[in-house]
Assembly symmetry: C2
Homo-oligomer: 257 residues x 2
DNA sequence: CGCCGTTTTGAGTCTAGTCAAAGGTGGTGG
DNA sequence: CCACCACCTTTGACTAGACTCAAAACGGCG
């Protein structure tokens, strides 16, 4: 039995497997975020899958690609060929309206996935921009799809990952639709904290990779408002901020803002 | 060659096929929305697919299910078993936060699809409520998945549908994040108009199935604001509203609000 | 050390929210 | 067929929260 894992965000889409191929497809241990050996994409599928050609897997998991800070991994209307998992660094996805309005639709941390927006029309529907010098694993979609066709557990996993993205986006819509500025900032920090935890970083102490501007855009508020709300949360003794460094002092208090 | 189509929203996910099974799986002609014979789900896949057992398809496309106005097709945390396409009527999907906050995440018209939110965790992550007496086709997910495993064009179509939902949600986020109340209402009417057109209804003359409350919740504004903005658009000569009946007078003007 | 981009804070404005009341609409039953 | 009721919609007056504009403080990097 061979097992493959496609790492995803944490909300249930990335299920652990009892049988894992290491060596050839080393899995990044979540508690060792700076693990030295990550020359290949960590790929994981929920259940063990039928034995299959390792070369086949190799052909899907391409050589990593580096993207410099503020450069694009892909842009709106680019031909869709691949999905990506973040091996190092951090990205944002941005939609640009014809009138020039921009909306940050998400931030992707190490281990999270990018590119599913392109499956539908075979062109990407947003820009993916690196927030710092980053590196991704490139997964050829056509090959992934044919692998899914052979390996049913992989197919199911891919369905789950896409559904997970749908669910996450719903949560974001809810935030944009119903929350006050203060609640948005609090919720954002908590979400980030959860995702950091899932990746093996400290849940209470981390550095933001995005500017107040980008954060505010994502949250549907202005950068000055983000700043004010952070100050307010600090006054309430819920967080401790120094520029981009965040320390969550009172997690419970933060979640009940 | 046999061709099956799973009808979806209009943004490119539902591709027409040259070879279609009629008779047994009659496709609702888009220009005849009230077509009498729709006792079975219209199922359509992008490309022709390999011949397969018709009984297999029959077992996936279950008997239709009726849902009365204001009743739930499914609720948050319900076990996920099936996805649904709307055969008649109209639904809304709603997320409820623990603090009681609600957010309408979408409206599903005739021919559109519901339920992908459940794939990820095998439980639904929102409520799907009928806005009027409605009817859906129930598609067993487990069977659909195994069919996808056999029929690669069906697998690709399902991936496209889910990606389409991701893209649509991104658009909604952009609206919630960047648009003024007036723009939101205008954009909402235009979106609805496009979807009505895609379903064979008039693009300029239609009835809303939701209340101002539900519309406002979806748009991230209050019901009074929806009402005010509709009045404003009417004063500008862009639309003509009488309660739930909408007539788009100046489409171009509306899109440049 | 000085520069540039980012962040913080303040003051004033404006959009959308709140509260309230009146006007419509559709469905039900007499 | 009409009257009544419940619910939905519109409109107005006032308020609050977030935005805009502006200036100063901070921080990282060459």
């Amino acid at each position: 039995m061979l097992s493959v894992q496609l790492e995803t965000a944490e909300n249930g889409t990335s299920l652990t497997s009892s049988v894992q191929v290491r060596g050839r497809f080393p899995v990044l241990p979540p508690h060792l975020p700076n693990s030295a050996d990550h020359s290949r994409l960590p790929v994981r599928v929920a259940e063990g899958v039928a034995p299959l050609d390792l070369n086949r897997l190799n052909s899907i998991i391409c050589t990593p690609r580096k993207v410099k800070r503020s450069e694009a991994l892909y842009r709106t209307n680019d031909q869709f060929n691949s999905i990506y998992t973040v091996r190092a660094g951090c990205f944002k996805t941005v939609i640009t309206h014809r009138d020039g309005n921009e909306q940050v639709t998400g931030f992707q941390l190490r281990g999270e996935t990018l590119g599913f927006d392109g499956v539908c029309t075979e062109r990407h529907s947003c820009d993916a921009i690196a927030l710092e010098d980053s590196e991704v694993s490139v997964i050829r979609y056509a090959l992934l799809v044919s692998l899914c066709h052979e390996v049913s557990s992989m197919q199911r996993q891919l369905f789950r990952m896409m559904s997970g993205e749908i669910v996450r986006e719903s949560g974001h819509m809810m935030m944009l639709g119903t929350m006050s500025a203060e609640q948005r900032v609090a919720a954002f920090l908590l979400d980030l904290s959860d995702r950091m935890t899932a990746r093996g970083y400290s849940p209470v102490d981390f550095n933001l990779r995005m500017t107040r501007q980008e954060m505010g855009n994502y949250l549907g508020i202005k950068l000055e408002t983000v700043s004010r709300m952070l100050s307010k949360l600090q006054k309430q003794g819920l967080v401790d901020t120094h520029g981009k460094h965040i320390r969550i002092v009172n997690r419970l208090g933060l979640s009940s803002v």
